[in-house]
């Protein structure tokens, strides 16, 4: 599965997210920022998980659950579209 991040969305290194389309701003933690960056690069959800498991001390089930929750949040704020 793949998610599309709209063009009008900008993130700073500190995790500050500005969504130009609505003028809303958000705050991301480090890993949240990384996930959005990977999505912007066009990676699929599967490759994102694989990458995160390589970098972080986390088991697959926990990560899947948390990713699912994170994406639900993104959808709620209309920051991603499913492709």
């Amino acid at each position: 599965m793949k998610y599309h991040i709209p063009e009008s969305l900008a993130i700073s290194d500190s995790g500050f997210l500005f969504f130009a389309r609505t003028g809303e701003t958000f705050t991301l933690n480090q890993i949240g920022k990384e996930i959005i960056r990977l999505m912007q690069e066009g990676l699929s959800l599967d490759s994102i998980s694989t990458k995160l498991i390589e970098t972080y001390d986390v088991d697959e089930i926990t990560l899947q659950k948390d990713l699912h929750d994170f994406i639900t949040q993104l959808q709620l704020h209309k920051l991603v579209e499913e492709q």
Binding site: L17, F26, T27, N29, Y56, T62, D69, T72, Q73, L74
Partner: protein, 451 residues
């Protein structure tokens, strides 16, 4: 071994202009990784979760401090530990070893104090429900019986006549101290003369020794001035008895009721900023007594039955995260393994809740629910917390008063309670309940028994 980065759940929070900076709102309290220098992780590994933790040093420090504050203002002071606030034997033992008497409100509590070796004359027996059997026992063991109503007074007269012994008694007095609700359901009223009537009846009895006057004006009292009024009324009654009957009472007892630093639900400011200090309560009480003219040698002993203010901050409840959830509107919810069945005071307090491990700077508003399958099982409606993973711990502070006496077993078993001793060692002071312990009280009618 490759070193992986510490994991934290990914989170995103919306900023509302003017409310938060770009870091999100800051973590309010630093993580509490240790209780009295003992790591929370180690406590959980050894004793499980949830876990109540009491601090011996904390109790001693509070009791010494309160005693000092009162003794520097009044010559004769005696504390009597309010059993209902926390009657774990280990906790009571610490208070007794600091010189406190016992204040009990039922036969169950009375027997607990006796089992701990407290002599009858150091037990104050309060409460509206003293059955005949408990009165007989308490009278013959010479305890101080604080009479709540006329029916009880007649029971006592009857028992002392029947056994031909005498009883040391006081009356509980209720009064208008300017605060609402008025606690006028306990004891005899001051303003309408009921208290004086009770006194007249008592002094007319050859077997009754009137030794004191008692009041307990309420709990979590937010105004110290109510105590000045109460102390003055009791002291004037004390002098009236002296003038009218030439009886020198041993003591006046101002009960409990000082507020702890637990913030009430609905209070906006933290309790520390709202409630009077112990010094202010002490000033109010002693100035109320001094308002009534008496010679130093005739001043009665001042008894205090302080409960929550002495132990609330010496108890902790460690709890673990069972699950992270989203509510239908996207709000974050955390389910923890301690519910309102064991954190009974969660119904009226906003306890201080800290995470027990280092976590990221990113915080998010959340609701904390307990594990009970009930809608009322909410530990905190709204709190700002960093992200938490399953199995992470929270430390709920100010859980030393009323939780381990008012708790309910409900759908699960009550957990271990440990005490961190003054020397840093950890002792189990109440074992977690077992299914057998609960079920041994039940009987199955013959016809339901499996052959």
């Amino acid at each position: 071994m490759d070193l992986k980065k510490k994991y934290e759940r990914p989170v995103i929070t919306k900023n509302y202009s003017g409310l938060m900076n770009k870091m999100g709102s800051a973590t309010l309290t630093p993580p509490k990784t240790e209780i009295c220098s003992v790591p929370v992780k180690r406590l959980v590994e050894q004793y499980g979760s949830p876990l109540f933790v009491m601090s011996e040093a904390g109790i001693r420090q509070n009791q010494k401090n309160f005693l000092r504050i009162f003794k520097t203002r009044y010559p004769k002071v005696q504390f009597a530990w309010s059993y209902k606030t926390n009657y774990l034997s280990a906790v009571c033992s610490v208070f007794h070893s600091e010189g406190s008497w016992a204040e009990v409100v039922s036969e169950f509590e009375y027997d607990r104090a006796r089992k701990l070796g407290i002599k009858g004359n150091q037990i104050i027996f309060n409460g509206p429900d003293k059955n005949r059997q408990s009165l007989k026992k308490a009278i013959s063991e010479n305890s101080k019986i604080h009479i709540d109503h006329f029916d009880e007074l007649f029971d006592i007269i009857d028992i002392t006549n029947e056994l031909d012994i005498s009883a040391d008694v006081a009356i509980r007095v209720n009064m208008d101290t300017g605060v609402y609700p008025k606690w006028d359901r306990f004891g005899f009223n001051f303003e309408n003369g009921e208290a004086w009537n009770a006194i007249k009846r008592i002094v007319a009895q050859k077997n009754l020794n009137l030794v004191g006057l008692h009041t307990h004006i309420g709990t979590y009292m937010m105004t110290a001035d109510a105590y000045r009024i109460a102390a003055k009324k009791l002291a004037s009654l004390f002098m009236d008895i002296k003038k009218e009957y030439d009886i020198q009472l041993e003591y006046i007892d101002l009960g409990g009721g000082f507020a702890s630093h637990n913030t009430l639900i609905g209070q906006y400011l933290p309790a520390e900023e709202l409630v009077p200090s112990i010094e202010q309560y002490a000033d109010a009480i002693t100035s109320g007594i001094y308002d009534v003219q008496m010679r130093p040698d005739e001043m009665p002993m001042l008894i205090l039955e302080t409960g929550r203010a002495l132990v609330d901050n010496t108890g902790y409840l460690i709890s673990s995260v069972i699950a992270n959830k989203r509510l239908s509107d996207g709000r974050r919810a955390i389910i923890i393994d301690a519910g309102v069945n064991i954190l009974f005071t969660g119904f009226w307090y906003k306890h201080k809740i800290s995470v027990a491990q280092d976590s990221g700077y990113h915080t998010e508003e959340a609701t904390i629910y307990g594990p009970l399958c009930m809608n009322i099982d909410c530990i905190r409606e709204s709190i700002i917390l960093p992200t938490l993973n399953r199995g992470d711990q929270l430390v709920i502070e100010y859980a030393g008063a009323y939780d381990v006496t008012q708790w309910m077993q409900f759908i699960t078993l009550r957990p271990n309670i440990v005490m961190i001793m003054s020397d840093g060692s950890v002792e189990l002071i109440r074992k977690a309940e077992s299914l057998d312990y609960i079920m041994q009280q039940e009987l199955i009618p013959e016809k339901f028994q499996k052959k």
